[in-house]
Amino acid sequence: MAKYEKYNIYKSRLDKRVKNTQDAFWANHAPALCWLTEKLPAKQIAAGSLGSLLLLSSPGLSPVNLTKSLTIGQKLPSKKAVGILLREDLSFEVPDQVRVLTPEEEARITKTLSKYYGFTVTSEIDGRRLNRSYGIIGAEQHLFRFPGDQLYKHAQNAFEWTSFGKYGIAPGLGAWGYFSSSEKKFSGLDLLREKYYIAVQTFLAPGFIKDVSGFRDFFKYRKMLVVNPKTGQAVVTDIGDAGPAEFTGKHLGGSPEVMFYLGLTGGPAKGPVLYFFIDDPTDAVPLGPITP
């Protein structure tokens, strides 16, 4: 075999080796790497001494590979690119059909989400879980937060009024009643809890009937990560209500703000989402929209 043929064989194998280690490195640590690129002065990457070692982009390469490749003149990956990476990873792990996930699927997906967001995402805490973790979310109305609450008080500015006021306020109280006993005691946390609440089918949780009060305490304001797998948009929410009824064909409901930040306000205002508990004993994860 000619020398150059042998060289090409060795080079091809080592190129693949480098790519595999690079891919694993980026996949495992994208959030930290993107933080680095955003916190330190942004610079165009010059291939320099790495030029010959790096995977060159080619026409038709997916955004995932582009963000993992370092080529001459290529910008460093942004948060948007990490969102694309997450969406790409989820596209391999989340089934096309909206159905109950298998334990293996839940394990893979929660591992991916925990890795991207940097906190523990799980389908079960203390032996308690919901009936499913992948389903259709529909739009809910605002909830009364304290005695005498009115819809206009939910909007803190013109944007919120025009974007979220039109959904109205539910006639009854949520599953946990008022968020605060009075307007005077109404806190910033109460505001966020109603703003980013979801309604889940607590009554369908395995074991619910045998321990209603235990499950009630477990679910009340429990934090959940809700992710739109098609877009990568996600919100840290809390369980603020129970529902929807099974006959609706929907599996959970989101407040107007939750639906907005999931990108599900257009058209039928519903869509498939992943929803898992956030194991956050120190209450460190803030409620609201989140990017990886």
Binding site: K3, L14, P31, A32, W35, K43, A46, S49, L50, L53
Partner: protein, 113 residues
């Protein structure tokens, strides 16, 4: 040097936080045996070193929480290898680095058969 040149620069040319834990001699010796030009050998060595570097960084960062990862990457960007060595020692990661290196060393040597 920009961020990623510092993170991924050729470890054979610069002292790194894991230089004292691994030896490139076996891989280098395997490449030297080949009947190739000096430039070709040099390029294959660079590829091998890049794979090792990514693999070691992946091993280290996997054992760190997100905030610790950020601190580690900042120090790496600053080329503060003394501080990085202290972190590795403090977290007891030296054995893991050596294991990761042995694994990728075997894979690279197989690539060169």
């Amino acid at each position: 040097m920009n961020i990623f040149q510092r993170l991924f620069s050729n470890p054979a040319k610069t002292e790194t936080f894991y230089s004292h834990l691994v030896s490139f001699d076996s891989i280098s010796g395997e490449i030297e045996k080949k009947h190739l030009s000096r430039d070709q050998k040099s390029h294959l060595k660079s590829l091998a070193q890049s794979a090792i570097h990514h693999s070691v960084l992946d091993t280290v960062l996997t054992d760190l929480a997100l905030d610790d990862k950020k601190d580690f990457l900042k120090l790496l960007h600053q080329n503060d290898h003394d501080s990085l060595r202290k972190i590795i020692q403090g977290k007891g990661l030296e054995a893991k680095i050596q294991d990761a290196f042995k694994k990728i060393e075997k894979e690279i040597i197989l690539d060169l058969i």
